[in-house]
C-alpha cells in the first residue's frame, strides 16, 4: 500500500503567542518548531497501517510545503515511520491562503504519483494547528477526484477499501470508502511513537525529494492584513489557601456556585 501524509511545520508556542511588530507573523525568535498534532498522528497511523500489512513494497511518503527548514519535520517523520520524504519549498506568505496551498499540494501529489505510482490513501490533518482553515485536504482530494472524509479517529483497511470512524458527541459514525481515497485525521486516533536512536540516525541520511511546484505568486481571494492577540480577560485570582486546609473554603465556593 502506498500512503501519502501531508504535514505542516508550525511554531511550538507556549503560554502566549507573540506577533511580530509588522503583524504579519507569529514571532518565532524564541520558539522551536513542530508538526501539527493531528498530522503527527496521521504519520503514526500510516506507519501502523503499513506495518500490519503482509509483504513489502509498502510506502509512507511524507510531503510538506513550507520553508527550507521544514526538512526538520520531514526528518522527524522519517524517524517515526516515514519511508520517503518530499518538500515543496515555499517561503513567506504560504499560510496566508489555503486555496493557493491546496493548488500547490495537488500539483505535488500529481508529480509524486507520476514517478512513484498512485497513492492508495492520502492522509491530512483535520485542520492545521496554526491556520486552522479546515479545507486544504478537502480541496486537494476534490481536485484529484478522490473521496475524503474529515475528522477521522479510527481507520481499518479492508479488502479494496477503508472503514473510517468519525467521533461524534455520543459515539462515532462509520464511513466506508473505496481506495484510492483521502482522510483527514484527528489527534487521539493513536498515540504517536517516540523516535528510536536507530530511527533518528537513519532519518539523518534519508533523501528528501525537492519538488518544483511552489504556489504561484497570484493570490487567491483571501489575503492577510494583520495578526493580533484577542483581548485577555483581566482576572484577579482569589487564593483560597496553600494547603489541604483550604478544603472547606473550596467546598463553600462549590456550594455558592450551586454545584454541590
Amino acid at each position: 500500500m502506498r500512503i501519502l501524509v501531508c504535514v505542516k511545520r508550525v511554531p511550538a508556542v507556549g503560554s502566549r503567542i507573540n506577533v511580530t511588530a509588522d503583524g504579519q507573523q507569529v514571532d518565532t525568535a524564541h520558539l522551536g518548531f513542530t508538526t501539527s498534532p493531528h498530522e503527527e498522528c496521521a504519520v503514526e497511523e500510516a506507519a501502523q497501517i503499513t506495518e500490519r500489512l503482509d509483504g513489502d513494497g509498502h510506502a509512507v511518503v511524507v510531503l510538506t510545503l513550507g520553508p527550507e527548514e521544514s526538512t526538520e519535520q520531514l526528518r522527524y517523520a522519517a524517524s517515526v515511520g516515514g519511508t520517503e520524504l518530499a518538500l515543496v519549498v515555499a517561503e513567506g506568505g504560504l499560510d496566508w491562503d489555503p486555496q493557493r496551498t491546496a493548488t500547490a499540494i495537488t500539483a505535488a501529489v500529481r508529480e509524486l504519483e507520476s514517478s512513484g505510482g498512485k497513492f492508495d490513501l492520502i492522509l491530512f490533518g483535520n485542520e492545521s494547528a496554526d491556520g486552522g482553515n479546515f479545507q486544504v485536504g478537502i480541496r486537494v482530494a476534490y481536485a484529484l477526484g478522490r473521496p475524503i472524509v474529515n475528522g477521522i479517529k479510527g481507520i481499518d483497511v479492508t479488502e479494496g477499501g477503508i472503514v473510517a470512524r468519525r467521533e461524534t458527541d455520543a459515539g462515532y459514525e462509520v464511513y466506508e470508502l473505496e481506495t484510492p481515497c483521502a482522510l483527514g485525521v484527528k489527534e487521539g486516533i493513536n498515540l504517536p511513537r517516540y523516535p528510536t536512536m536507530k530511527g533518528r540516525l537513519a532519518s539523518r541520511k534519508a533523501q528528501i525529494a525537492a519538488l518544483d511546484c511552489a504556489p504561484d505568486a497570484v493570490s487567491g481571494g483571501q489575503a492577510r492584513q494583520r495578526l493580533h492577540r484577542p483581548p485577555e480577560r483581566a482576572s484577579t485570582t482569589v487564593v483560597l489557601g496553600d494547603s489541604a486546609a483550604a478544603a472547606p473554603a473550596v467546598v463553600d465556593l462549590l456550594d455558592e456556585l450551586g454545584v454541590l
Binding site: I17, Q225, L260
Partner: protein, 336 residues
Amino acid sequence: MSSVAVLIDHDRGIPSGGALEALTAARTLAAGLGAAVDAVVLGDSELFDTHGASLVAACASHGAAVVHRGRHALLADYGPDAWGAALASFVAGAQPAAVVAAGTDRGAEAMAQLAARTDLPLVANCVSVSPANDPWEITRIQWGGSLLEDVTLSSSLPLLTIAQHSVEAEPCEGGPIETVVADFAPDLGPEVERTLVRDRVTLTEGVTLSTSPVVVSGGRGVGSAEGFATLEELAELLGGRVGCSRAVTNNGWRSHADQVGQTGTRIAPEIYIACGISGAIQHWVGAMGSKNILAINIDPEANMVAKAGYAVIADLHEVVPAISDEIRRRRDRPSS
C-alpha cells in the same frame, strides 16, 4: 432581494447549536448588505415529514425569510460529498450573495466541499465580518482561538464559516418572522454515495465532557494513571466528568476523549477544577469557556493560576482528597 444563505447543519433533523449561531451572525451580515437571510436545509422526504416543521420553526425564529429545503433520497443521512454537491446545486440555482455555515464538523466540511466544487475562497471560523467595502474585511480565529487574523476577502460569492460560540444564538426580536418554504431538487450524481454515513455507534448517553456542569481535570502534575483515582472520586461526588491535558494523553494515562484544548474538547462548565495543569495556550482555549476556574497547583506563577478566578497553591494529591472528604462530611451532617 438578494440573500445571505445559511446552511443549517443538523444530525438527522436536529440542528446543531452552531447552526442557530450562524443564523444569528448572518442577520448582522445581511443587514450590512441590505439583504435577507435564507436558510438551506438538506434531507430526504422522510426526514422532512418528521422534522420539517421543527426545522422551519427554528429557522423562522432566528430570522430566515425563506427556508430552502433540498430534498433527495441521497440526503437521508449526512455525507460530505452529498452535502457539498447539494450546496453547489443550490448556489447555481438561487445565486445568493454569500453562503454561511457554522464552524462545526459538518458545517466546516460541507463548506470546504462547496469551496472545492466552485473553486472559490472559503474563510473559516470568522468572528466578525464587515461587508461595507470591497474587499470585505473579516476577522477570523487561528490556533483554535489563541490568535486573531484580519483578512480581506474578494470573491464573486463569499463563503464563510462562523467560529463556534463567537456569537450567542438569539431569536429575532419581535418573534418569528413570516417564512416561506421553498423546495428544491439538488442535482446529485451517484458518486456522492461514496462518503455517506453507513452506520453509527453510541458510546455515551447523558452528560458528556462538553456539556458537564463540573469538570475536574488533571495534568502532568497528577503523575500517573493511578493518580487520577482521587480526581474521579471528586468528579463523581459533584456529578461531573474528568478531563485532562495533552501531557496526560501523550503519557497514555487517559484516553484522548478526555483531553481539553485546541486539539481536544471545548468545555463550558459552571466550574473547571484544573489540577496540576500549567495552562498552556492550547489547553486554555479549550477551558476558557468555563464560567469559573479553580486552579490547584504547587506553582503560584503557573499560567493557569494567573488566569483562574480561584486557586489553591498546594500539592493536588493532598488537596483533592481533602475536598472530597469535606463534601462527604457536610453531606453526612444533617442540615440545620
